[in-house]
Symmetry: C2
Subunit: 227 residues, 2 copies
DNA sequence: GCGCTGTATCTGGCATACAATATACCAGAA
DNA sequence: TTCTGGTATATTGTATGCCAGATACAGCGC
């Protein structure tokens, strides 16, 4: 009996949750600002048919996504993928700054040295030379870095709250990281943040994290006029 | 035609939204820590019967509430009102501190003098003498004060994010404000915060707001051992 | 007396059916 | 030709029915 490597049956992945994840992933993988207006519409029947389920779990998933801000519902008209305005994107970054800054405080107070050191490893495979050639991978590492700070805070409510808005930040960073020389400044900022955390300088770490995020907000404000 | 004062028909209050608001209000009005364990259970059919609707809008409302953290669902078992542990309550307060602290920065940067002055009015009807006799009203004013700082930030994403966790903070403050001499310290803290905002001292305001919230966290940590 | 197994019943999850509303199209009049 | 009003169609919102999993309990074996 004990010899059988039986994985527990996952009964917690109900169809509605799977639908939620599928739609969420599909939206995340889409560049919302390059698709046609008509593709923003989410037809319940069509989704149900394509995913091979009935409309009920589709609707539950859409309710979840609406709460998360990824889709909006117009009563009696249907659900639409939410395309955030420039002002909203800036607000999202501000909230992110607030959360990550608090996370930095918690990390400098509580996290182990080893945990903080793991932040360095995220960028270990990059050196200045090849940086420009691997912008996509760097962009991923960039996001992982910020998500990891939240994670290392050990504050679950903070992590869940941040998760809800991280998805919006993600699309911003992917688009902006290649612009001008942001990635160079970015990596310098990250190193300073790590150093502040290692020095357990709570105030400095909190300020650096906040300023780093708000610099992105200022950048979006100044540059992305097509939103 | 133009002479008729016609209000727009509100078609946005679907049954499922009404159900959501009804259950939310009912949970908010309940002291979760004084009711019987069995009353935490939310039976779909019973709710549907009592509200006079079918189970479908009930389920959509429960999905919303679950996302908000007010209820938890156990697969195939049902929905239960979520009772937060002490550790979770402290985490909620930490997140609140992060958000309100950022809001204080925005207020000191952007809000009009008149708007900041409105913060004083919230406490205008209280003086030191009668404070102890009106703890409930003061507790309400207290919550309005903090919610108003968020509101004056003018950041909608911040407000929505905070709304999601304010409901958890609410129950904490109601319980703790009467303990020892917290309300006296509280009103002094509030005045200092207002003064910092009026002086447009962003750093000071942010720090005072954060410390005020974290003092509550420390208080909960030290005192509420029955959670 | 204790523990396991089978069964009845209950409840949530999903599918489907029905009702209500919005949109599109078409006909007729100005 | 253009605008208005009616009707058909499509789609959302809600209700209901069915099924599978979970719990409780009775019966059986040890």
């Amino acid at each position: 009996m004990a010899g059988l490597a039986l994985a527990a049956i996952r009964s917690d992945v109900s169809i509605s949750v799977q639908v939620y994840e599928a739609i969420r992933a599909a939206i995340t993988a889409t560049n919302l600002y390059e698709i046609d207006e008509s593709d923003l519409r989410l037809d319940e029947r069509e989704l149900a048919a394509r995913l091979g389920v009935s409309r009920t779990p589709i609707r539950e998933a859409l309710v979840r996504l609406e709460h998360e801000g990824l889709v909006t519902s117009v009563p009696r008209r249907g659900y639409y993928i939410a395309r955030k305005s420039k002002a909203e994107l800036i607000e999202v970054i501000i909230v992110w700054a607030a959360l990550e800054s608090m996370a930095a405080r918690l990390v400098s107070q509580r996290a182990s040295d080893a945990a903080i050191a793991s932040l360095r490893e995220i960028f270990a495979t990059f050196d200045g030379e090849k940086l420009a050639a691997h912008i996509d991978e760097y962009s991923d590492a960039n996001l992982r870095f910020h998500a990891r700070i939240i994670e290392l805070s050990g504050c679950d409510v903070l992590r869940r709250t941040a998760d809800g808005i991280l998805i919006h930040v993600r699309s911003i960073r992917h688009r902006t990281i290649g612009e001008d020389h942001r990635f160079e400044r970015s990596i310098v900022d990250h190193m300073h943040i790590i150093e502040a955390l290692e020095a357990r300088d709570e105030e400095l770490a909190a300020r650096l994290v906040r300023d780093h995020a708000l610099a992105l907000a200022a950048h979006v404000d100044a540059n992305d006029n097509d939103l």
